[in-house]
Amino acid sequence: MNLVSRPHAGALVRFAKDHPELLVLSADLTASCEADDFRDAYPDRFVTLGMAEQNTVGFAGGLAREGFVPYFHTFAVFLTRRVYDQVAMSVAYPNLRVRLVGFLPGLTTPGGVTHQATDDVALMRALPNLTIVDCGDATDVESLLPAVHEVDGPVYLRLLRGQVPRLFPAGEPLRLGESRELSSGSDLVVLSGSVCTEQAIRAVRALERRGVSVAHRHVSTLKPFGDPELFATLAGARRGVITVENHSVIGGLGSATAEWMAGQGPGVKLVRLGVQDVFAQGASLPYLMAKHGLDARAIVRSAEDLLGGPLGVEPDELTADVTLPDEGRVEDL
């Protein structure tokens, strides 16, 4: 498996080089959010204000009012639940260029419910003016900063850290507002995001081997939810739509899809996979994805339900390596 180590750390330093207005704000999770290389490279643009997220969000708003672009790095739970009113009033209402860089999205931490952001997208989608972008692989992470930097308003990011698989070619950067087409087909539509996309790729390959035609798209821009190609894909679904997200089924990708389908949709069933309106627990990602039904097996089961019978997919098929061969590091781009 091709894993990229700490992709955000290097991407941030590279991007900041030509953007002197970019500041990094941190609340005691600097290395944990891969901002330590930035801190060492640009100490004058690194601002720590203590483990005090409410105040830091306000400072970010003040700095943005003065023309700086602060990137506040901390865990996603602390950028959403903990500071919701501060984000709403000090950043979102005045439509300021603040970047809320959230780590540990969904179930990607064994740290338990205090650290698992399973409702962050729901919260942030409810705030006007916010743009929300989720990452599915190392290429997404590496190309995220230039993709959102020019957005003239606040952006909430869901970052992956540590050893991050590369699913998409390094030369095909994330584009704001566009989903990625991973397979085309007409029986089923699968929309996936975050770490669920790797699972969905496995499931879709198994389904295609059984003759099921699947249109699979990876969705990174969750707000605004307006990719015309994504809508066209949904409109062409014949047997059903499956969404799978590293988040509660309330308020995230599945909800956004349901909202669109209810108004414009093709009149097929929608299955929303994700955390089913429960709190999770501290455990490994594979364990939690299996338990909460957002892995490849759950996607296959949902496809079987929509298509009306078992397809005979073997468990082994769903654990095969889906990452790209190592075709060049991002430093070479």
């Binding site: 204000l49 400072f59 003040g62 003065e66 700086f68 009113d85 009033m89 000090s90 005045p94 308003g153």
Partner: protein, 311 residues
């Protein structure tokens, strides 16, 4: 900098403070409701800040406020803030941030009395579609931050102060705070950060009137000993009589020493309107309970007007 306003004489401050009280009282009578006690506590503070402390240019905003242009956002190029009433932005000028926006009526009255807002602006107070809102927001005259969820303004002002420090601007960031906001944890996060970053370009003036929505602050929570607490957080603290303009001018004029400067202005929420004492401890919002009570306040307003003629 506005040389004319900074050269204001002490008598001007007294007169403007009296007029702020009279204008808010008149408004409270005509609307049968208003934030009157806040005018009583803050009149000298705002008059002194505008006339003798703040370095501001003349207003660059329309004398009569424009209607609400819609909230800021990518589809609304017309949105604006009310900061223009405090003059233009310039490196050497101060920035004024008004946090307890439930006092908006008092700030509007102050802006009128120092010539930054047309008196007709107050006719738009709390009218549908107006920016002269009941609880001020960033589009309201004299406001720059949507601070109605209290204790957020100081953090935003801290960010502005940090940006000004990074750019080497000499102008100060002056924040008007209410004492009730000291019950919010975010306020203490902000003071800790201001001290940690050594932001001595920040001046915070606290209207310590010891009142909050439920009544006397001591019956709701405890922020005392406020001076000792703030000093322990690393602030440079001056504690004074908030109705003494000379004391405020002297304290605000101290040369920076690396610490954020905080002035605890002890104030009387009934100052100048003794009738209010009959309503204590519920002073947060005044609505007259009877025709007799309104008549008594009307007589007081007449006394204010007579004093104005005498002056």
């Amino acid at each position: 900098m506005s040389p004319a306003s900074r050269a204001a004489r002490p008598a001007d401050v007294v007169r403007v403070a009296r007029r702020i009280r009279a204008r808010v009282l008149r408004h409270t009578l005509s609307n049968n409701g208003g934030y009157l006690s806040q005018a009583c506590s803050a009149a000298e503070l705002l008059a002194t800040l505008y006339l003798r402390v703040l370095r501001l240019g003349p207003s660059i905003a329309p004398a009569v406020p424009l209607p609400f242009p819609g909230p800021p956002g990518p589809l609304n190029p017309l949105s604006f803030t009310g900061a223009g009433y405090n003059g233009p932005r310039a490196p050497e000028l101060d920035r004024f941030f008004f946090s307890p926006v439930h006092y908006a009526l008092v700030l509007y009255a102050a802006l009128i009395e120092v010539g930054r807002l047309d008196p007709r602006g107050l006719d738009l107070f709390n009218k549908d579609g107006s920016t002269v809102e009941l609880i001020g927001a960033e589009h309201s005259p004299g406001h720059e931050v949507t601070a109605g969820s209290l204790a957020q303004c100081l953090s935003v002002a801290g960010g502005v102060a940090l940006a000004r420090r990074m750019r080497g601007e000499p102008g100060r960031v002056v924040v008007f705070l209410s004492d009730g906001e000291l019950q919010e944890g975010q306020t203490w996060e902000a003071f800790a950060a201001l001290a940690y970053r050594k932001l001595d370009n920040v001046l915070v003036v606290i209207d310590a009137n010891a009142q909050q929505c439920d009544g006397a602050m001591s019956h709701v929570g405890c922020i005392e000993p406020l001076g000792a607490r703030l000093a322990a957080f690393g602030a440079r603290v001056a504690e004074l009589d908030g109705h003494d303009p000379e004391a405020l001018v002297a304290a605000a004029g101290q040369a920076p020493d690396g610490r954020p400067l905080v002035i605890i202005a002890r104030t009387d929420p009934c100052r100048g309107v003794d009738l209010l004492r009959q309503r204590a401890p519920k002073l947060h919002y005044v609505r007259f309970k009877s025709a007799d009570e309104a008549a008594a306040y009307r007589a007081l307003l007449a006394a204010f007007d007579a004093a104005e003629v005498g002056a």
